[in-house]
Amino acid sequence: MEQRINIAVYIIIFAFGIFLFRLWDLQIIKGNEYKKIDEKNRLRVIDIPAPRGIIHDRNGKVLVKNVPSFDISVFKEDIPRDPETLKALGRLLGITHDDIRNRLEKSSVKRFKPVKLKQNVSFKQVAKVEARKVDFPGLHVEVVGGREYIYGHSASHVIGYLGRLSLAQLSDPKYSDVPPESFIGQFGAEKVFDPSLRGAGGKKILEVDALGSIIKVVRIQRPVKGEDADLTIDIDLQVEAEKSLKGKAGAIVALKPDTGEVLALASAPSFDPNLFVRGIKYKDWKKLVKDPSKPLLNRAIQSQYPPGSTFKIISAIAALEEGTVTDDTTFECKGSIYFGRVFRCWKAAGHGSVNLHKAIRESCDVYFYEVAKKLHVDMLAQYAFGFGLGRATGIELEGEVRGLVPTSGWKLDRKNERWYTGETLNTIIGQGYLSATPIQMARLMAAVVNGGMLYKPYLLKDGDVNREAEGIVEIRPETTEIIRKALIAVVEEKDGTGKLAKTDMVRVGGKTGTTQVIGGVVKGDKIPDKYKDHAWFVAFAPEKAPQIAVAVFVEHGGHGSSSAAPIAKRIIEAYYRNLQKIESVQGEG
């Protein structure tokens, strides 16, 4: 009997051995595995998006603000997957239960994080969901940052838009702290200033029980709001610029000549960034991309065309500085000259005896042809480079093009051909190989009237008032004076080609330009739009210590004098009206 009791004891000891082994297996060998399941059981992480920085214009007007947007999401761990629950949830959200199932199964969301079921739902729907949350454990309303572009189409190329992280960005360590389904700046200032606008997202780690009820907040990491961005843009001026381009394709850039601040940067046609806020619809995107008028193109920095006669400003400075001419030098304009072939002046009847002042005022081509015979193209190019042509201005926006200033070396390099003086004749009146962007021309205008200081145009007001010039073109003050007077004459005198830019408010200087679209002279008014010349006008005001420099470019606008000059007038007038308004407000305050 005692022997049989001993057998029982051995069996018991053996059983204890097995149990101990099992305990070891669960707690030591698989301990970490079970710890993870345990955490998955009870921990939930909710991202708290950082409020994005607000974008203001130079006067503190809000251009872009945040509006809350709601997403409905669900914790995979908590939602029952039976068809009845999913169907009921589908009815609540207005999506099919298959869709829900797909999202749950295909989701690559990290552990503990909710899976998005429906984005950008209305407030009414949020209320409906909140009311029925008890029936669907794990259902969660996420408040995500939405964006409202208050001025719609205005300044859209400057402000830009948001978009989901692209595939390339997802694998880029720069964006590692950005939650994969969030939106970041993908264009314009929203993109360029994104790192500071974005802020740092926070998160809330929750402990929930088996029914998905929140037991406690384990940890809260508060989001850090993105920094606001104050732009140099004056939105009223910007809106005026866009109005004046209405129905046309073109660009306007207005700068402060003594700093490089961009007061307005308009490109027409434009687009509405509000379309992009929670992900642009495929249909809308396709429409934007396929539009032949290219609304996404920022013409102010991305379109380059021969500057036409606006370039004569540079030609004149070069001629004066290099001693090719003095202000007394005169040439006879008979409407054309022969130099290998016939080179025509725009005025077939000719300008008669022309000095530099008249040549600029009336935009006489023959005068400059004569100069071109004596001025080497490389000399001319030096001044063009000096005033910032042929290279990007360095404004904060992406995708800026460089334009082109031809030289003999460039031609040898590119075409394996020597430079012909005849080509200088074309170049000196701003045609031929030469090309520039509107922003380059605006900066050129600014530098010409501020004594040769070349500032980098900028959009972000950073309080740095003593910006250093990026370059200084050494020109004699007399030269600047001669040029300034001539440019004033263009607008203010009755023979000036830019007299349509004349305003009662301020004395304006400027220069017209016309870019030939097809060679030769085409007569008549019935030219189809696409063969019409491009119109340029660069301007500044007031005469002394200019406060604004403008470049207007109208694609297929015809003559600079008739189509671009009146726009420049509108801009300058708007600038002075706004100035008066602000001064009167400040006076009252």
């Binding site: 009791i5 204890f16 707690q27 079970y34 345990d38 059981n41 088996a210």
Partner: protein, 373 residues
């Protein structure tokens, strides 16, 4: 009334170790049922504590009476137990789908908990009546099976209470095996069971309730029904496993209070303990249980007579089965049978019956020196 020598031979370890375990039980119940959502602490732990005091009193009362008296009235006690089982079927209170409780107004208890003890006492009397060297023959075995097992098993199964029925069967089988049985019978029984398994298995399967079937399926494959009974097993393993070596710390377990683990303060109390106290605490706990069991067998060996020996054996077997079935279930190596962990699970009747069983053990042990009595 009690001899001095009796007091001297009182084995304190049989009282102290179980007392420690039951106090650990109270602490674990407290942690398992602690509120996490602005609810007041439920009074389970307090009620359990009162039951411990009551159990201690009962322990000393039973210890003071020589077990010879228990043996003397063994069959009467057995019949009394049967009557209680009938009463519970006729007038018992229902709870959680089973009719197990008799309500006395001031308290309610489960007769089947006590019946196991009555059963052990009666069986001990019968088996000790056999000669030391006789081995049970087939006819005799059939007779005592019918008398001692069949009647109560049918009654308890009607409640239904599969766990208690199984325990009764196990106690009976082991006690009879230790008492001595002809090898031929063992062989025949095993062969018959194996041969008839397809048929009896089918009959048993048909006779089982749905939840019982689910438990068996879940034991074989917990993933088959991850939100049903398999969920219990999985969550129990998660609780135990997540404890790791040192545990999450007392009152730091989450699986129970956060409602991931059901029956946290009753059948799955060990899972909560292992979650909070880890491998180290669990091994110590195992050791305490092993100590009681070992002490039980030791007492059986040292008992002054066959009656004492069988009483100690029956009680020890019962205790062991409870332990292994319960802990085995929480570890996921035994099917889910609703059996509490002795001394620790919440439940007054079970606690009282555990202490009564231990007092029988103490009774046998302290009176082992027959010579002077």
């Amino acid at each position: 009334m009690i001899d001095r020598r009796l007091i001297n031979s009182f084995d304190w370890s049989i009282l102290i170790v179980p007392l420690i375990l039951s106090l650990i039980g109270v602490m674990t119940i407290y942690s398992a049922t602690r509120p996490v959502l602005n609810v007041e602490q439920q009074s389970f732990f307090l009620r359990q504590f009162y039951w411990i005091i009551l159990s201690l009193i009962a322990f000393f009362v039973v210890v003071s009476v020589d077990y010879k008296q228990l043996i003397r009235f063994a069959y009467l006690i057995f019949i009394f137990g049967i009557i209680l089982l009938v009463i519970v079927l006729l007038f018992g209170r229902k709870g959680m789908g089973a009719q197990r409780w008799i309500n006395l107004g001031f308290l309610s208890f489960q007769p089947s908990e006590f019946f196991k003890l009555f059963f052990i006492i009666a069986l001990s009397r019968y088996l000790s009546g056999m000669g030391q060297e006789t081995r049970l023959g087939f006819a005799e075995l059939a007779r005592i099976t019918a008398v001692f097992v069949a009647v109560p098993a049918v009654l308890i199964l009607r409640q239904p209470d599969l766990g208690t029925t199984l325990i009764l069967l196990f106690i009976f089988t082991t006690m009879v095996l230790v008492a001595g049985i002809r090898r031929k019978i063992i062989l025949i029984t095993i062969v018959t069971m194996l041969v008839s398994l397809p048929i009896t298995g089918k009959i048993m399967w048909k006779g089982m309730k749905d939840y019982q079937k689910k438990r068996i399926i879940a034991f074989i494959d917990p993933q088959a029904d991850p939100h049903g009974i398999g969920y219990h097993i999985t969550q129990s393993k998660v609780s135990i496993g997540s404890g790791g070596f040192l545990g999450k710390g007392y009152m730091k377990g989450t699986q129970g209070p956060y409602r991931f683990l059901p029956e946290k303060h009753t059948d799955f109390i060990f899972s909560i303990f292992a979650e909070e106290r880890g491998f180290l605490g669990s091994v110590i706990l195992f050791f305490l249980y092993f100590f009681i069991i070992w002490r039980g067998f030791d007492t059986a060996k040292k008992a002054r007579d066959m009656e004492g020996c069988f009483l100690a054996l029956g009680v020890t077997f019962m205790f062991s089965f409870y332990f292994f079935i319960n802990v085995g279930m929480t570890l996921g190596i035994m099917p889910v049978v609703g059996v509490p962990l002795p001394l620790m699970s919440y439940g007054g009747t079970a606690l009282l019956s555990n202490f009564l069983a231990l007092s029988i053990l103490e009774n046998v042990r302290m009176r082992r020196f027959a010579l002077y009595y």
